[in-house]
Assembly symmetry: C2
Homo-oligomer: 191 residues x 2
């Protein structure tokens, strides 16, 4: 492999196979991070109205059931008014109140695998990737942007899980806090 | 399992077994995120002087070889002056210039597993966890704080890998950027 380094100034264009390759990994990453872990790591959060790792898995399940592939389907149907349903960021709270983390991890893995089968079955063309939909908050978006957002949404929530876990040791690290800024990152909720 | 939610205000006290349980997971998490992934994800970074995911794996290897367990050993030796060696954040650059990501992931997994065997072999007591060492920048730290910092260091770098990957799609997501703040997070390097 050729060794190279690109800077963030030159970001990647959307690439369907590279996107699927990230999306397919997320259930395994979450399983490795959270499978059978102590609730002291999985059920704690960053403060009021923030997600615990348990909440993040529920939120990703909501995305599989109500967001990414359903919205892609609205775009591909090419109706006169391809408006997405608003997304409920707190659907998971009532839905999963009595669930175990293990069962949510398994459910997410099944839903994601099934959705990627659907995505691949579409054999999307460049022209289809440019088709528009209407986001309730953002206005006109393309299928390409929607699929890129799916990838980034996964990665943002993986970063969140690691950050939330790290913060549980904010006091335990003592004088190391200035050298490990993840423990003081994002004092107010933002995503 | 009893369902509960604690807020970050009440952080966890250091807990050896819970710490080992996070530390043992990191090689598998990185393997799930990065194994056989396209260099467009693994070799790109957030700008000058920042780490790519490839760099992060090399940096974690440096930690196994020169930082956490060697420093714990200095503390446990109880010499009159238990000063840690300074840590070289860029040792990995020359060391790994010709290495593949796959070989680094495998090496990290081996080093981490061996170091956790060493850690477990010590059967650390509460009194030993309170023993001090001298950090070249932070001054007096305890073994307990050192081991907590090892955990947080892992988690901070996992968050970094996810964030660096997400940023490669900063432009591809188009109007979604304000809803996915991970793509604009930490515009200047800080850890």
């Amino acid at each position: 492999m050729r060794v190279f380094s690109m800077q963030c100034e030159a970001t990647m264009q959307f690439h369907l196979e590279r996107s699927v390759d990230v999306l397919r990994r997320t259930p395994g990453v979450l399983g490795a991070m959270l499978g059978d872990i102590d609730a002291a790591w999985s059920r704690t959060n960053e403060g009021p109205e923030t997600f615990s790792p348990f909440d993040v898995v529920g939120h990703l399940i909501d995305g599989e059931e109500t967001d990414w592939i359903p919205r892609a389907g609205i775009i591909l149907a090419q109706s006169a008014n391809p408006v997405f349903e608003p997304y409920d960021r707190f659907r998971h709270r009532a839905r999963n109140a009595k669930r175990s983390l293990e069962s949510l991890l398994a459910e997410f893995a099944e839903l994601r695998a099934a959705n990627l089968i659907v995505l691949r079955s579409w054999h999307l063309t460049e022209a289809q990737l440019d088709l528009p939909g209407v986001h309730p908050g953002l206005g006109r978006v393309t299928l390409r942007q929607l699929l890129a957002a799916w990838v980034v949404h996964d990665l943002g929530h993986l970063a969140q899980v690691a950050r939330v876990m790290a913060k549980q040791y904010r006091d335990a690290i003592g004088p190391w806090a200035p050298f490990l800024p993840v423990v003081t990152d994002h004092p107010t909720p933002r995503s």
